[in-house]
Each structure stands twice: as structure tokens, then as C-alpha cells.
Symmetry: D3
Subunit: 237 residues, 6 copies
Amino acid sequence: MSWQRPDGRKLDQMRSLVFQCDFTSSAAASVLTHWGNTKVLCTASIQPGVPRFLIDSGQGWLTAEYRMLPSATVPRQQREWLKLSGRTQEIQRLIGRSLRAAIDLKALGERTVTIDADVLQADAGTRTASITGGYVALTQAINKLLQQGEVQSSPMISPVAAVSVGLIEGEVFLDLDYPEDVAADVDLNVVMNGNLNLIEVQGTAESGSFSRQQMNQMLDLAEKGIKELLALQQQVI
Amino acid sequence: MSWQRPDGRKLDQMRSLVFQCDFTSSAAASVLTHWGNTKVLCTASIQPGVPRFLIDSGQGWLTAEYRMLPSATVPRQQREWLKLSGRTQEIQRLIGRSLRAAIDLKALGERTVTIDADVLQADAGTRTASITGGYVALTQAINKLLQQGEVQSSPMISPVAAVSVGLIEGEVFLDLDYPEDVAADVDLNVVMNGNLNLIEVQGTAESGSFSRQQMNQMLDLAEKGIKELLALQQQVI
Amino acid sequence: MSWQRPDGRKLDQMRSLVFQCDFTSSAAASVLTHWGNTKVLCTASIQPGVPRFLIDSGQGWLTAEYRMLPSATVPRQQREWLKLSGRTQEIQRLIGRSLRAAIDLKALGERTVTIDADVLQADAGTRTASITGGYVALTQAINKLLQQGEVQSSPMISPVAAVSVGLIEGEVFLDLDYPEDVAADVDLNVVMNGNLNLIEVQGTAESGSFSRQQMNQMLDLAEKGIKELLALQQQVI
Amino acid sequence: MSWQRPDGRKLDQMRSLVFQCDFTSSAAASVLTHWGNTKVLCTASIQPGVPRFLIDSGQGWLTAEYRMLPSATVPRQQREWLKLSGRTQEIQRLIGRSLRAAIDLKALGERTVTIDADVLQADAGTRTASITGGYVALTQAINKLLQQGEVQSSPMISPVAAVSVGLIEGEVFLDLDYPEDVAADVDLNVVMNGNLNLIEVQGTAESGSFSRQQMNQMLDLAEKGIKELLALQQQVI
Amino acid sequence: MSWQRPDGRKLDQMRSLVFQCDFTSSAAASVLTHWGNTKVLCTASIQPGVPRFLIDSGQGWLTAEYRMLPSATVPRQQREWLKLSGRTQEIQRLIGRSLRAAIDLKALGERTVTIDADVLQADAGTRTASITGGYVALTQAINKLLQQGEVQSSPMISPVAAVSVGLIEGEVFLDLDYPEDVAADVDLNVVMNGNLNLIEVQGTAESGSFSRQQMNQMLDLAEKGIKELLALQQQVI
Amino acid sequence: MSWQRPDGRKLDQMRSLVFQCDFTSSAAASVLTHWGNTKVLCTASIQPGVPRFLIDSGQGWLTAEYRMLPSATVPRQQREWLKLSGRTQEIQRLIGRSLRAAIDLKALGERTVTIDADVLQADAGTRTASITGGYVALTQAINKLLQQGEVQSSPMISPVAAVSVGLIEGEVFLDLDYPEDVAADVDLNVVMNGNLNLIEVQGTAESGSFSRQQMNQMLDLAEKGIKELLALQQQVI
């Protein structure tokens, strides 16, 4: 292994992951996701009503918002005010799409679930932590709906988790932290469901390109990581 | 006491207050301030350079930003995007003015301290928690500057703390929670320094008006509360 | 008196104040308030309907907007375009709150009164002139409603007036002009009703702090000033 | 004359016009232009420096801003906030172009004159009042520059004035008020210099069209009006 | 002729004009207008419903939007994002007014026609090309409505075309290209209907002024140009 | 093949693709890319200077902007004004990343290439047409730099092309048109270089999920498509 991982992990080793549930009490569910040095507060709020295009369709909706607190990075970043950066929009659309794959919107009824992912501290993997922790918050919020008798049966279809993999100096690494994310020639974000089938794949060659073989190596490693994440999710749900 | 406090406190009793320091590691200092059911993440970031009007003045600057996470309230609130609400602007200007009273900007040198107060959970008193917790974060960040030899002597002038008091059904109450804030005929936010001298007083009659005598009763109670806050601050600094 | 007032006034002396009524004819009422060298055009417009949160409540609403014309100051200031400054939002919220204390919104019925305060020339005290002149415009507009038989009885509860006081070099001064506002160590804006009871108190130590005793001295002086303002208001209503 | 003018004027008769100079003292020059029931506060402010495209060109610049106070019309209009209306942009560009024709920007030196035209009360003809009153303010401000020795000789080239003419039920009318502006089939805004030569012509058929002959009739009437305006301007400069 | 036209044209000679119809198929009508080196894509889209002020009036509406692609000019221009430039707003309002003169909105019924004029390549005359090509697109879109039986009779009233004329070194030129537009002392945009009556006249002296006689010379030349345009329009409609 | 392709193509058959070069003359290069019924105007503009983060680095930059003309779709879409949609930001970031993989920014020198992709007509595949046509425009613009002697050797590294593939009713299809894009359970956008190595992979399960095997089937088909695109590009460069 030519690249030495800053925190001494093996190639295929995940960072530590703790879901601190009920972190705040104002949202339907609130999970502070500690993923290595990345901390993302994932909350799920459920409100009656749906966007205009779904009114009277009987179908629910799930949307997501993602922000980095200014102090989440070093140095401090300006708050996004007038114009949401492309990156922020890209990530919150990814979170939304990924978690919509976890739920039967028809069975949800005309409600809107909003997943808020606010990054308190960023050490790369904020989008995968938002999806993986967001799934826990989503499930807990839906469980409350069930307990309150608001829905008769659970609309949840399948667990969803996400992990990053990368190609650094020709080798494939699982779950990149920030230094690795910067050094990676290629980084891949992979979202899978409970059957380890693909929901989203986003791969980018920061420089050069990558072969089909390297693509499959990265996907193999991602599967391994996601298996571990699915298990951790089940422990807290 | 005709008004019964929802959490059973006495008239002049503060809510519990815990400063959870080093909550995140990316900012110079980070204090999660648990004040009753209100949780505010106060961070202090220090960056070289000052606003244009202070360039080459040799003087530093301190500014503050305040936001409520959407899930901090029930129901969920929209994120402030294009137009900052008057309330948000008012509060972040109050935090800035109050904490500028805690530091000798000349002794700070041409640096800018940014205090970020992000409300994770709101149960009233978010502005006073931002000031009181913000002072702890400010002091810890300045201590780091000292340890790093960036400044020769501490620019800190005096502790600063803030508390709310209110008039409900003719009686004066210390440290209002949300139901009390809604019920109050008058609410007063008071910022004092280490000598219990006034830095800011903001009093508003939500309905009717209040006498000079009631004003002084509220200020007496505020002094009592701020003494307790100053003591709690010193325990963690 | 160590501080010499630029215009030679005594410590407790107000600047000249003239309400030039019916200055424009397009609004329900229009009062050009000449307060020393400060000129604020205060208009009251009344339109059917209320904000969404009051629809079908039977209750009226009063809101205020405040702006400085670019040429009101030296040098000329940019017009506030995309982002209202914190100061502007703070002042228009203060004007709104203060003048809502002058009127029984229930008795007003589902109408919205908009007080516009446009500063044509600024020499400090623009917010207190907006409130004091705004009350005259409000009362004249309501009188027209009465004359037009739109309301059966006057919804006006109490006169409202506002004045500034300040602490300069340890002494208390009534009704600060611009040079005094800049020099003040502490400035206090006080809003009182007809009974000289408090509606709003906003006090800020620009540097250092101020004692409870100094606070009461400033409030005593404010009372004196507001008595004079209330009398002047009655002369034109 | 089939159309009866609401205020009884003859076809070719102007409304009353009074230039109330030195209305405010904060700007270099300030002229409250009372034109019939239209009141526009025209101020001229002069600041060092020019827009980027003129830096180091030795040439000055003149720009204009135009706004309607919300209470200037019945009913009250929203303040233009995020998006300047096309009408506002069109008018302030017209004022800028027209008054740039009154001054030798090269002789002005690298300064920027900003003409602010704030409509306090609108009864049509606000753009022509802004230009005609704006010229008076511009000239007075330049005279001050001369008195202060900031410029050696006056950069003023020629007086500039503007008037509206309209076609109502086949007849041509000079200086339309609001009801006439609404009724007009065609309205023409004409800007001329001291020699009654054209600087700007803007003619619009609100419905139908107009002939070349009608165009010339309107221009004849405009010349008559502008002669009167030029004379009134000279009386106050 | 002291000014030599860059492309060798005579004083009163138009540039080449080709209407490339059905350029795209997604809009109701789409005309790529090649006018000398200026290329404007004019499309007409028709959607049910009208702006709020016309709801239930039985009357239709026509509006226009105008933009320059960034690569339409040399050098490339920034896309207009937050704030539409005054020029853009002015031109799209001119296009809207001009083409509303071509159609009986009452006969159109409660529909909204949107004319989009996107400048792919700019060599001056973009607004006149937008109007002249926009009329062709409008007419073709209305013809489709007729063919689909959506309207019983054509709401079209009259052809509309527009051309620019200018005064360069004392002489009048028809249909200015970009170098001529920059050199012109005066430029006039003229919109006429099928009877060569005036719909809009916008004349601006970039420097100096122009006489009534020069005005009429320019209008004569414009008539000649518009006759040619009307003929070309009829060939493709 | 259960799904019948609307235009009768085979599973692995591309739509027709024509690069209409030199479509406009104002940009350094301008290619109207006709890809089936999708028409995208791809231009490349080259301006001196680089973004702030690259100043004095000796390195050039390439960025991209993507917009849909309102009339490009049925029905007409609003122009994106204040807030760029997440989709637009996502696509223009993808185009930028993809085409930066085609060029050695160091060899380009401190210049900025801006690729503008304006969709005149949309029938799905607008992002892949923007990348594939954008590469042609980029190469032609760079060739001009070479001819003008602005760069000594070509900074171009490798051709880049992109294509979409999709999973509809269990079968994999190459180069989806709009109806297919709507019907697809999974759609994948693939960007490859001259060696058919991967630069970007973006795959989304609109509903359900997809297996690793289906992923590889789609990538195989993409390779086939990209080979054809690379050949077509070479014919016009």
C-alpha cells in the first residue's frame, strides 16, 4: 500500500460510526451522526401537504436540505446566502433521491418528509453520512407516525446506506477522509439498498481517468462498506 | 404567584445551564450551550484581516452570525435564504455589540473574530444563550491565541452574560422559556458585564406598557440571574 | 457640563419640532416631521385585508417601513437594494411595535395600516422622529376613517412618542443630534405612551457600560422630553 | 376640444411649476419640484471617483436613480426591492442620458454626479419633472463646485428640460396629468436643450398608431412647453 | 457621404434579411432571423391563462423576453443573473408593446403569447430584429391556433416592423450595424404598422442634439426601410 | 425487446448527430450540435486571466455554463432568474469537469476557456450533447490559439465524449430520447476519453435499484456509443 492512510486504517477499513439518536427533541427524529471526524446533524420533520405537482395525487413526498455550518471547516467558510453553490444543490438532490428509494411515497400519503442534514464538522464523507444517518432519522420518524396511528402500515421499503471509495496512486481505498479525498485521482460515491443493489453511483476522475476494472474494484469495496453500515443502522432503529 | 411556570421553577429561578466545550474541533473554540431545552452551538473562528473600514487601523473586529436550524422549532421553519428576517439581523447585531464589549479590539490586533451561534433546538432565550455561550467560546479562542504566542497579553476586558426577564400577569419572572415568552406582557433582554453594569437593555411591551418601577424590578432580577451565569462561565474557562 | 452641545442647547433641552401636515395628498395622512435638522416624511396608508396569519381573525394589523433617501446623509449612501441592512430592519420593526401600542387592532377591523417613514435628511433621531411623527399620521388617517364612517369608534388607545437620551463624558443629555450620537458612550431610545409608561426601551453602551443609576437618570430625562412631544402632537391632531 | 381637461387647462397650457430649492441641506443641491400635483425631490450629490470604465480617463460621469415612494400613489405601492421594475430602470436611464447632455463630462474631471429623483407624490409627468428639476439641482451643485474652486470653469453646456405631450381623441395636449396619461392614445416624452433641439424623443401608441403629421403637431406643442420651462429654470439658478 | 459604411452599403440601403422559419419545433413558432450579422432566435409560445390583472376579463395578453447569449458579443458578456440590466428590460418592454399593437387581445381570448427573443449573434439592430422577426413568429403561431380551431377568426390587426436610423457626421443612415451604432451622434428606433403609421419612436442623442428637420429626415428613411421589411415578412407568412 | 423505441431505433443504436460548425462568428468557436431532436449551441470563448485561486499559478482554467432557452421544451419553461436550479448547476459542473479532462490546463497558460451550452431544443441528452459538442468547440477554439501563435503546442490531452444509457423494463438502451428518459427505471450518463476510459459515471435509479451486472451491461453499451461519437468528432475537427 504506497499511500499511507493518515489515521492508520487498512485499505478496506471504515472509520468509526456512531448514531447519537434523539439529539434534539424539536424534530420528529434527530440523529447526530459521528462518522470519523465528520459530524452531521440529520433530522426528519414531517408536515401535512405536498408540493403543488402532487396535490390530490394521494402520494407523499420526501425532500432534503444540506448545509455546512460556517465553522464546520478550517478555515471558516461564508454562509451560503443568495446563491446556493452547485455542490450544495448537488448533494441535497442526491440525499433526496437516495432516501426516496427507501420509502413507498404512495403508502406515505399526502405528507412531506424533510430531511435536514447540517454539517457541524466536516472531514469528507458529509454526503454519505447525510444519507446513512438520514435513513436512521427517516425510519425513526416513520416509526413515530406508526405509533401515533397516522399510517396503518410502514411505508419503508428498504434500508439505504452510502459510502465513498477512491483511487489513490493506483490503489482503491474505502471511506475517504478529507486528506484522502483531496489526494484521490478518482472518487466514487455509492448508494445501495438492503440487497446491496445500486441506487446511485457518482464517480469522477479528478485527474486522468479510470478503467472499467478499477470501477468494479471500487464497487466491490463499496459493497463491503455498505454491509457494515446496514448492520450499524439496524442496531439503532 | 398567579402564573404557574410550566417547569415548576420559582419566580427568580434560572433554568439548568451546561457549557459542553470542544463540541467540534474545526473552529478555534466550540461550545454547545444547553440552557434548559434550548441548545445553541456557539463557535469562535479567528481569521487574519479586518473589514475595509478598519484596514491599517491596527484595530481588530468582532462580528456575529445567528441562525436557527429549520428543525430547531416545532413546526419546522424554512431556512432563511434570500432575505434575512429582521429578527435574525437584530439578534446577530445584539450578539456582536454585546461581545465587542468583552474585548479590547485594539489589543486584539488586525484580526476578525466571528462568533457563529447556530440554534439546534429553540425553547426561548436563544439570543441570551448565544451571548452567554458565545463569551465562553470567545474567551477559549483568545486563550488559544495567547498559547500560540499570537498576542502577548489577553485583550479580554470583562466577562459578559445575558438573561431574559418578563412581566406575566403583573409579576416578574427570571429566564423565560418559550410558553412564558409567548405569555409575557413585557419581556426584557439584559446584557451585563462582570461588574453587573449594563451593556445592553432591550425591553418591549408586547401589549400595554410597563412602569419605571416594574422596569427596576426586572433589572434587579436580571442582576441575580447574571451573577449565576458569570459564575458558571468561570467554571469552564 | 463638560460636553458642549454643538447647537448650544441645555442638557435637558429638546431640538425644535414642527409637524408639517398634509405634506402630500396621495396617502391617507402625510406628515413631514422637522425635528432639528432631521426631516422624516411619515405617511399612513390604509388598505383592506390583513397578513395571512390574521385572515378571518377580525383583527387589523399595523406594519412600518423605514428607509433613508440616499441624499439624506453626507456623503450620499447607496440605496438598500438586495439586502436590507440590519439597522433598517431593526428600526422599522421598532416603529411597527411602538405604533401597534397606540391602537386597538381588534377595533380597527381587518385592515392594514402601513406607516412609511422616509428620511429626507438625517441628523440623528430618525427612528424617534419616525415614531413620534408616525403617531400623528396614524391618528389623522384613523380620523379620516371615522369621518368616512368606516369605523364606528376610534380604535386609538393612547398617544405614543419617542425620544433619545445619551451619556457623554459621564453626563446625561436629552435628544441627541448626529455629532452627539457619535460621541455618546451610551445611547438610549425610549418609547412611552400618554401616561409616560414604557412601551420600548433600547439602550446600548457603545463603549464601556452604564450603571443602574445612570439608567434611571436617562429615563427621568426621557420622561421630560416625551411630555413635551405629547403636547406638540396634541396641537396638530 | 372634445376631451375636457380635468383641471380646466387649455390644450397648450402647462400645469403650475415651482422649484423649492435647498429643500434639504445634506446633498450638494436639493430641489423639491412641485409640478401640478406631482412632487419630486431632486438632489445632486457629487463624489470623487468614477465608474471602473472611466478610471484614469480624466472624464467625469453623471448617473441617476429614480424611485417612487410607496405612498406617492393611490393605492400605496410596494417598495421595489429585489427586482427593479422595467419602468424604473427605463426612467432612471432616461434621466441620466438627458442630464449628461447638459454637462461636459471632460470638463467635470474624475467626479461622479448622482442625481436622485424620489417621487413623493405622483400625478403623471414624474420623469419629465425629474429631468427638469434635476437640471436645476445639477446646476446648483456645479455652481457650488465653482465657488469652492474645485473646478476652474463651469462644465455646464446647455439647459435641459423635458415635457410630455399626448394625443387624446385625435387632439394634442401639452403636459398630461394622470387621468390624461391614462386616457391618451399616444404619449410622447420630449427632452430638449436650450436651443430647443432634441435630446430624447420617446413616443408610444398605447393603442392604434399615430401619423407623421400628428408627431410633428406634438413636437410643436412640446417646444412651446419647454420654452416656458427653460425660463422658469433660469429664474431660480 | 463623409462616413463610409463598413459593409459598403448606400445611405438608404438595408442589410440582408432572411427569416429561417421552423428553426426549432418545441415552440408554437420559431424563426431564426438573420439580419446582416445579427442572428436572433424569435419564438412564440402560447399558453392558456393570463396575468392576474386580466383574469376573467376575456382578454388575452402578449409579453416578451429578450436576452443576449453570452457568446453573442465580442468579448463574451456575463449572463444577466440577479439583476436584469436596464437595457434588457427596456428592450423586452419595447418588443412587448410593439407586438401588442399587431394583435387584438380581446379576439385572442384568455391566452398569453410569450415572444422570446434570444440573440445568438449581435451586430446592432437586435431590438428591431426581435420585433420584425417576432411578428413573423407571432403570426405563424396564431395561424396554428386558427388551424387547430382554437380561435374562430384571426386576432391579427396589422403587420408590425421596426428599423433603426442614425445621424453620423451630419448625415442620415438606414439600418445601422455595430460600428455605425457606436459612431452615431443620434440613433432612432422606429416601429411602424402596415400603413406606415408610427407605433413607437425612440430617439437618443448620444452626444449633442438633433433638429426637427433631421428628425423628419430620419423618419422618411425609416419609412423606406419598413416598406421593404413588410414585404419580406409577407413572403414567409 | 419489450420496450418499443418511439423512433424505431435498435437497442444499441445512436440517434443522428451533426456538428454544424461556425454557426455564429462572435465566439472563438461555435458548434450547433444537432443530436436527434436535441439542438445545443456550444460555444467556446477564451479570455485572458483566471479565477482568483489560480492567479500567478501559471495555470489556465475551463468553466462551463448551461441553460435551457424557455422555448426549448413543451410547454415553455420560465427562464431561471434569481435561483439557478439544482439540475442546471449539476449539469454545468459536469460539463466543466468533463472538458477539463480534455485539456492540460498548465499548458493552456493563464487563460480562461468558457464553454457555453445553450439548449435551443430539448429531447433528452442535453448534457451529453453539451459535452460532446463542447469538446468540438473547445478543440476548434484551441486550434485558433495555435494558429494565432498564442500557444506554442496544443494543450489538448484527449478527446472526450458522453452518452446516456438506460434500463427500461429490464432491458438496456443506448442514447435515450425524452420519452425513454421518462420511462427509464435507471439512467446512466457516461463520459469517456479517447481510450474509452471513464472520466465520469452518474447513474440514478429513478425507481427500484439496479444490479452490478446491469451496471456493466450499460457501460458496455456506452462504450459502443462513445466509439461512434469519437469518430464523428474527428471528422469535423
